[in-house]
Amino acid sequence: MQVILDIFNFIGEQILSQYSIILGLVALVGLLLQKKPATTIISGVIKTVVGVIIIGAGAGVLVGGIDPLTKIINHVLGVQGVLPTNEAALPFALEKFGQIGSLVMVGGFILNVILARITRYKFIYLTGHIMLYVSLFVVIVLNATMGLEGWALWAVGTVVMGLYFTLMPALNYPGTKDVTGGERFSVGHTGDFSYWFSYEVGKLFKKGARSAEEFKLPKSLSFFRDTTSSLALTLLPIFLILTFFSWNYIVTEVSGGQNPIMFAIMSSLTFAAGMAIVLAGVRMMLGEIIPAFAGISEKLVPGAVPAFDCPVVFPYAPTALLFGFISMFIGMVIATILQVIFKVPYVILPGIVPAFFAGGTSGIFGNAKGGWKGAIVGPFIMGIVMQVGTSLLIPFTGELYDKGATFGDPFYATVGLAFAKVSDLIGKGGILGWIVLAAVILLTVFVFIMGKNYRHLDEPAAETAK
């Protein structure tokens, strides 16, 4: 009897406490269900586990870049500087919440498949890295605000993620159809709120809108799609400006005697190196899991609308992409300067990665109805909103708040912030907490009842009927 208990203990406390192994098991199940050959299964599982370990290793390198930057910002400005970049926050989030976060991602996917089967919202979320990031974000917030742990945390997190995976692509499906000329897919990415917002704002410019695609922009701007270089290049000026205000401090306290300019260059490049490592790990980790998810959902929900990562819409309006990218970045820079002037406790640095992916895609959505004006206005406003919202979000992010990096995308700063506020109110309990909880449940039920009127899925069928 003791032996069996020992085995259970070993499984529970040793194997399942390693989130890399949990994700390896997810890949194993996925590969088995697809009936892949044994060699593919073995290498797939190993790659998944190794990928997770690589992400952890990236953390050490990232810190070499972020730590000096946050120290210097703190010294010069007297505020905490935070970098809104998902991949930089990921290793820290995984360290404490990797186990429950990856289980929530799997639970959320299963609920997504169930909801897609039984409700009118036939969307399946297939952007793997975003699935993991949002799951971790939700787990962190639930833990920090409501104090949930263990199975309760998993259950609540799973429900939240299932709703997120199902509803966010539904929100953007009309816009995506407009952008693509009626293709049957949606966008699944944490720029989602900003795409919807930019699309709606674009409608205001309807009359005589000239498309951004009629302009010619220098091709060299597309260089920014390479995140490793663009990150290093945007961090460097920030570092250098701060360097001239804290030369002596850097020499004595931070760089260990190294020339501050050289130190700034090396720290920026170290950060970029950390990002490259994390990205390599994420790529390896998801390379087997997402194809498995795709295969499973295709079998269980035939005719579902997949939600893909935002670059799938890039080909439809490459110039609007650059309009959106630049205007969101300008919005971010203005907001950051204002945050410094007003000395808010958490200054959010301009995030080049969200500006390119979320801002650029927002430009494409804004352009669909509002032409070049639509491609600029929505992303610009969302650039400002993102800095303000992310700054307000920091106190709710528990373990992450002092790491110098946080989740950065319009979703987190808007819907994510609202979610954090709501779960904070529920967590505080009392009558208000119960009222908020009831309101959230009613709203969710209402959204699914309204789903009966969700006509966008019927359009192709209706057209053929004509």
């Binding site: 799609r225 995140t227 990205l279 790529r283 194809p291 893909f308 799938v312 080909p315």
Partner: protein
Amino acid sequence: MIKIFTVCPQGLGSSLIAKINVQKALEKMGIEGEVETAGVTSITGQKFDLIVTVPEMQDSLERYKDKLVFVTNFFKRDEIADTLEKKFREMGLIE
């Protein structure tokens, strides 16, 4: 055994969808191959026979131009299958 990379900006999301579609196409044609994803940076130093990508990535991948295969979009399964079939015929891998 043919080695194919699907390449998108970061190598995370859309290239993974392309990978699924390329794998399906290979299975259908009965060609043995390995498919992996990469971003514009991480493709450097890799060994491969073909890169499947979209036209906007052309500038960033100029140095591999003999090995590039373009599709209009990563999620278009049929187009990816057709384009690859044509390419394999050119390479003499299938009749």
